[in-house]
């Protein structure tokens, strides 16, 4: 069985296409067969789609499953008694919650991988940390929301942590200012959800003209642009407003799904999202054939982490575009790409909704 520890000594954005391909193919062969044997529903899918998991194939040939399937079914490849955490998310289009079941191994691997990827930006030392959210979001330890899980996951990079918002999501000015004073001229790690940062932090600071002295800090944020696109806030605009209100220049967006926590895709200094040696991205046309560089299509995400549930190869509901591989001007290797947002809702014809 594929062991993630073999990869842990390799810098996460250092491998070229050929070297990475070999690692990916081995890992995904093992993972696919593992889930086939241990998750009966996943087995039905591969059998149904006439896919033979005992045969080694190209990464792009292994069937992907949809995020909504985690809402429709409880998908797990472990016994119930091995579950240590269940992550829930309302992420995509319908209102039901998806459920992700974690055992110790997968949870540990998520942390290991996240550490490797994030330390490429933050460095190896823990930093003073401000979380732009409320402490309430991590209140219940056993039943995490995706937001709580991400906050928990990123907290390992902080040695002294404060939450910037109270339970009503109002800014705790006194607490933040005291913290800034204590860590004057030091690098502070700031983390939060894109939309919450914008709505409950930046906009409020702008309104009050109350700017914070954080210019040495690094901000990492994620969680999607859907609501911000509705308010026509682009990544550039977001960065500019951050700079204006806090002085922070180093702002990194990350992209990831709750189904693949840990192996996040991180923005580089050139503003592009990168896949690491733990993940891969394939952009698909409407007929599921692979898009060429520069073509927009549905985003398929691959992660070598999930072992307790069959979430290693997933089709998202996002539209993305591959920009290149191994040749980003930032110097990092791997595929780099852009996300254009969630697929638009489209009308379905038919006659079953007279009263809506």
């Amino acid at each position: 069985m594929f062991d993630i520890n073999k990869l842990i000594t390799i810098p996460p954005f250092s491998l070229k296409k050929k070297e990475k391909q070999k690692i990916m193919e081995d890992a995904l062969f093992d993972l696919t067969y593992h889930h086939y044997k241990n998750c009966s529903k996943y087995q039905k899918i591969l059998d149904g789609l006439n896919y033979n998991p005992k045969k080694r194939n190209k990464t792009s040939d292994i069937p992907f499953i949809t995020t909504n399937l985690f809402k429709d079914f409880e998908l797990k490849s472990i016994n119930k008694n091995k579950i240590i955490k269940t992550i829930t998310s309302s992420g995509t289009s319908n209102s039901e919650l998806s459920k992700i079941f974690l055992d110790r191994l997968t949870a540990t691997n998520q942390t290991k991988v996240l550490t490797k990827i994030v330390s490429s930006v933050l460095g190896n030392k823990r930093l003073p940390m401000i979380i732009i959210d409320t402490e309430e979001s991590i209140a219940n330890r056993n039943f995490f929301s995706a937001r709580g899980a991400a906050i928990k996951g990123f907290s390992i990079f902080g040695n002294e942590i404060i939450f910037a918002l109270d339970k009503n999501l109002r800014i705790k000015y006194d607490v933040i200012k005291k913290f800034c004073k204590k860590h004057t001229n030091k690098k502070i790690f700031i983390f939060g959800f894109t939309f919450i940062i914008f709505k409950n932090f930046i906009e409020k600071l702008l309104k009050k003209k109350n700017f914070l002295p954080l210019s040495k800090s690094i901000l990492i944020h994620g969680g999607g642009w859907k609501k911000l696109i509705d308010e026509s806030v682009t990544n550039e605009k977001f960065k500019n407003l951050i700079k204006k209100t806090t002085g922070i220049r180093r702002v990194y967006n990350y992209y990831g799904m709750v189904e693949q926590t840990g192996s996040i895709l991180l923005e580089c200094d050139k503003g592009n999202l990168h896949s690491s040696i733990y993940s891969d991205v394939i952009i698909r046309n409407n007929d599921f054939s692979e898009c060429k560089i520069g073509q927009k299509g549905l985003v398929q995400l691959i992660s070598v982490i999930p072992q307790s549930y069959p979430g290693h190869i997933i089709l998202s509901e996002d539209i993305g575009e591959l920009l290149g591989e191994d040749n980003c001007k930032c110097g990092l290797k791997g595929k780099y790409f852009k996300i254009h947002g969630r697929v638009k809702n489209a009308e379905i014809r038919g006659c079953s909704d007279a009263y809506e």
């Binding site: 899918i45 149904g48 789609l49 409407n286 549905l298 638009k344 379905i348 006659c351 009263y355």
Partner: protein, 398 residues
Amino acid sequence: MLMSSDKKILYLVGQENIHKKPLPPFDNTICEFLNDLSSKIDKSKEILNYPDLKSFSFWCRKANIAKYKKDFEDGKVRMGLGLAFHITPSNVPTNFAYSFVFGLLAGNANIVRVPSTNHPQVDIICNTIKSLLNIKKYSKIKKMNTFIKYEKNDEITEKFSSICDARIIWGGDTSIREIRKFPIPERSIEINFADKYSFCVLNSNSLKKLKKKELKNLAEKFFNDAYLLDQNACSSPHLVVWLGKSNEKIKKVFWNEVHETVKKKYELAPINIVKKYNNLLKDVIETDNIKDVKRYGNDLYRICVQKIKSDIEKRRGAFGTFYEYECRKIDDISKIVSSKFQTLTYFGIEKSKILDFVVNNRLTGIDRIVPVGRALDIDVIWDGFDIEKNLSRIIDVK
């Protein structure tokens, strides 16, 4: 009759004062009006962009209405019930117009709730009706009809329900359940189009004899039945039952032709592609006895099953996903037919044989037996009853 004004209601045609007095069914003025409506829509420039407008104008043309009239007459004296309140589906742009014609032909005054979503077809039809009603000879009809638009609103629905003589709800089950909370007067009637399941029966022996062109034609008809309304109409087929000699080759030829048509005529938004694929994975997980799944890109999915059970009506295809089952004779599927079954589309089998199948097996379902290609042809006989007769009353004169 006067109703309190409500700003939440948009009156597309007519106004809130509606004249509740009925006419005899197929009254000459009504037939003449529909004839004018048909030709006026037919002459409009927009018709080129909307084939469903063309279908509607063709359907309410003079000859068809005359045929309905002839079919209707049985020597009894009838009158419309009074006021019909129509709640029509938001995702079939022209359905409201058919519902209106059903109500009008039976001699009723009508309050038609059109889709709350925006469809150009709705505006075109409503504007045409509005301008025709301004002609003096139609002043009687003008007073009887109003077309309204409102966002889902229980108060408004309750108000109109409380004064109607007939309420017509175009499904599905959830909508019907919700609207039924609002009572209609004791003597009033209700016509509900509940969720239905439809399927197709093909005979491989007959299919084999078809020439290339005929096969293509059949595939196009099948495409129309299934894809024109995203396989989401009550009469769109979800299951194909193959009769005749087991013949994989001929099945392949048929589906390839369907695929060709889909490629040419059908386009899915990315969100619906994800939904379609997700639905397939769900089906694969939940269905036992799958023999094979065949995918033609994302244009067409086939799920071939070895056995078929009565829960088949819960397995609905989406955007062109078909269950397939093979059997020797049509009686083999009698056990799966429930009252949810609506339309059976057929090719290569005598319709009398299918009728015998329904009657001899004493089935509670299958309301329509029509050739492949006519699944979506709406008719005054629908879901097993005669809408015109239901929307009128008999005056028994002795």
